[in-house]
């Protein structure tokens, strides 16, 4: 059996729970060796499988809340913990086994969305699937949204302070004692991914305190968007004494909102998005159970371009958000997540499970990042690649117009389609203007990759690496000649104006 040295996910290097561990891992290793091999990446698989049989509440390291959560989730299931089938067999398995539950252990949003999409498109038409995943910090925009309008890309590039020990400060005052935010002096910024999902809807922020749930069901006439939001509300209501809310319900936008005991304001704790394809329906939603970055959501989802951009596509609807229950202790947060997950699983099973028993490895399965490896599942791997690409994230943006407004006597306007500049104009209050169309540029100008806006607007070709292509820098003389006659109609653009544009359209650093 060859050890495949692929792509070990970040979480594979997290310290594993220690007590009582090694005994189980040997047993599992032995069984796996003789069982039908499903994948060639062993170490992460072992991490996941041994996790399932972990049976004691040991002291878990702060940095492994996801693993801990899933350990405890699986603990209550029946004995056999080894998955008896691989994702390649999903079409057959989903025909025979229905419903199915998946717990994803990776925190990589691109992996999780790709696995979800694979489950949507390869499961049997009659199957009902429930899956859970939690992502590392990321902003997730809808299929037809505009990243420059929905989020502050420059702010995204700055990242977030490290999570551990961090207490968010928000207007939501009643969730417990608030301590001053303490940043670790030696902590590095936590990066924030920008993700475009395949379902519609608006923009949300994910982090470790946000649980994502997905339901995949047949797209029949009886499919209603509120059905599974109601299911989650029932699951949460059954444990409302444990959580700090008095009231919880689904509103008319199919968001889940809750109200605390002493307050009148309804806060959004969950939003949903939907995708319909080939007789299948996907409903996935967020659930802010205990987000350490709750207070950052507002600024991350506020774009400096919102006054200057007019876009086709879908706009988000802003709502005040709140945590279901905030606790600064990551261990307690992990327990909360497990509790919520279990409640939802029970409610889902009550709706669709009939008399069947939930059996770990058979109809309740854990999937890790190894599912996304090229040789395990080339389809999922290529889905991941697509989601990570700039072409998907930026160039799937519908047509939009940008108008800078007048700054120091000049104004810049442009129109872009699919993330590419179609038309650019520089107008002067004194009456001159330079207009350039797509054909006037040497190459396609991709908005996410403009190295120098000043250079672009003034007409020099500085979109290329000066070292590599020094010989090709040619001022756009023909364009300048085409402008309407006036003084200052050409080249010069004020720095303040350039700054305004750069704040909205920074160069993507990926």
């Amino acid at each position: 059996m060859s050890m495949h040295s692929a792509y070990l996910p970040q979480s594979a290097y997290l310290p594993r729970p220690i007590t009582g561990q090694s005994r189980y891992s040997v047993v599992n290793l032995v069984i796996l060796h003789f069982a039908k091999p499903m994948r060639t990446t062993w170490p992460p698989a072992l991490t996941r499988l041994t996790c399932i049989s972990h049976s004691s509440h040991t002291t878990l390291p702060h940095s492994a809340p996801i693993l801990a959560g899933h350990c405890q989730a699986a603990r209550r299931l029946t004995t056999s913990s080894i998955r008896s089938w691989s994702l390649e067999d999903l079409p057959r398995v989903s025909q025979e086994t229905n419903p199915l539950i998946f717990h994803l252990t990776s925190d990589n949003p691109y992996y999780n969305l790709s696995i979800e999409h694979y489950l949507l498109t390869h499961s049997h038409p009659d199957t009902r699937i429930l899956l859970f995943y939690t992502n590392r910090p990321c902003v997730v925009i809808g299929r037809n949204q505009n990243p420059w309008l929905e989020t502050d890309l420059k702010r995204l590039q700055q990242g977030l302070p490290p999570e551990d020990g961090r207490v968010p400060q928000t207007a939501d005052k009643n969730y417990g004692p608030i301590h001053k935010t303490q940043l670790r002096k030696n902590g590095r910024a936590v990066p924030i991914d920008l993700v475009r999902r395949r379902s519609g809807g608006g923009t949300v922020f994910h982090d470790s305190g946000n649980l994502n749930y997905s339901v995949i069901i047949p797209n029949s006439k009886s499919f209603k968007r509120s059905t599974h939001a109601d299911m989650v509300v029932r699951a949460l209501s059954s444990a409302s004494s444990r959580y700090q809310f008095a009231d919880i319900r689904v509103n008319d936008r199919n968001d889940i909102v809750m109200r605390r005991e002493t307050e009148s304001q309804w806060l959004k704790v969950s939003g949903s998005a939907y995708k319909l394809t080939r007789g299948r329906a996907l409903h996935h939603g967020t659930l802010l159970y205990s987000s350490p970055y709750l207070d950052k959501i507002s600024e991350l989802l506020r774009s400096p371009g919102r006054d200057f951009i007019e876009a086709k596509g879908v706009e988000s609807v802003r709502s005040p958000v709140g945590n279901l229950v905030w606790t600064p202790d990551p261990r307690k947060r992990a327990e909360v997540k497990t509790g919520i997950t279990q409640s939802i699983v029970r409610e889902f099973w009550r709706m669709y499970g009939g008399d069947q028993e939930r059996r770990a490895g058979v109809n309740e399965v854990t999937l890790g990042s190894e599912e996304c490896a090229e040789d395990t599942s080339p389809e999922i791997a290529s889905g991941v690649k697509e989601l990570m690409s700039n072409a998907w994230r930026f160039e799937q943006t519908p047509r939009f117009d940008f108008a800078s407004g007048t700054v120091d006597g000049k104004a810049v306007g442009f129109q872009a389609n699919r993330g590419v500049l179609e038309h650019l104009s520089l107008k002067s209050v004194s009456g001159g203007s330079v207009e350039r169309a797509k054909s006037d540029f040497k190459e396609e100008i991709k908005l996410h990759d403009v190295k120098s806006w000043k250079g672009l607007i003034t007409g020099g070709n500085t979109n290329t690496n000066t070292q590599e292509q020094a010989g090709q820098i040619v001022p756009e003389a023909s364009a300048l000649a085409r402008n309407s006659a006036s003084s200052g109609g050409g080249g010069d653009v004020p720095d303040a104006l350039v700054k305004r544009i750069e704040a909205v359209f920074p160069r993507s650093n990926v």
Binding site: R143, N144, G200, K221, L276, T277, R278, K312, V314, R399
Partner: protein, 178 residues
Amino acid sequence: MSTAVAGRVLGRSVASTPFARCSRTQYLRLRAQNQAFRTTIRSFSASSRVWQKKYTQDHEWVELSDDGATGTIGISTYAAKALGDVVFVELPTVDLEVNQGDSIGAVESVKSASDIMTPVSGTITEANNVLEEKPATINKSPEGEGWLAKIAVSDPSEVEKLMDGEGYRKFTEEADEH
């Protein structure tokens, strides 16, 4: 009746020429001059099948041109109603080669993003750019002005196997009973 139908077919063939947006007088002149008009009358009397819409189980329709080479694709009234108000349409790019059942775009409504699968294999020749400005056209006229794309059909026999209007109506009624 026959002139109306023939006129519609002529309209489509005219639309594929540079005169797509001509005035009424120009249109009348073209109609008088255009050879296609005369051939159209003849082929109409030969068979009336070509103007019928055919439907898929995913609620898309395809309507072949008179020469059977180009198909117009859209979603059915049933689907448009189920979707709710359309806010955005992802259209396929021209020259995209597709097989029957491949996704050629999607419609996002207030309710969800729904994939559109092509009823037939071929190459996309045109996308209905009106939908970029006015996505609600799909709700107003899903089987008329709200067409999504035109496709150069590679295998016309695929169309034969789809449901006709009556068959589709029965199909949706059965689906509603679920």
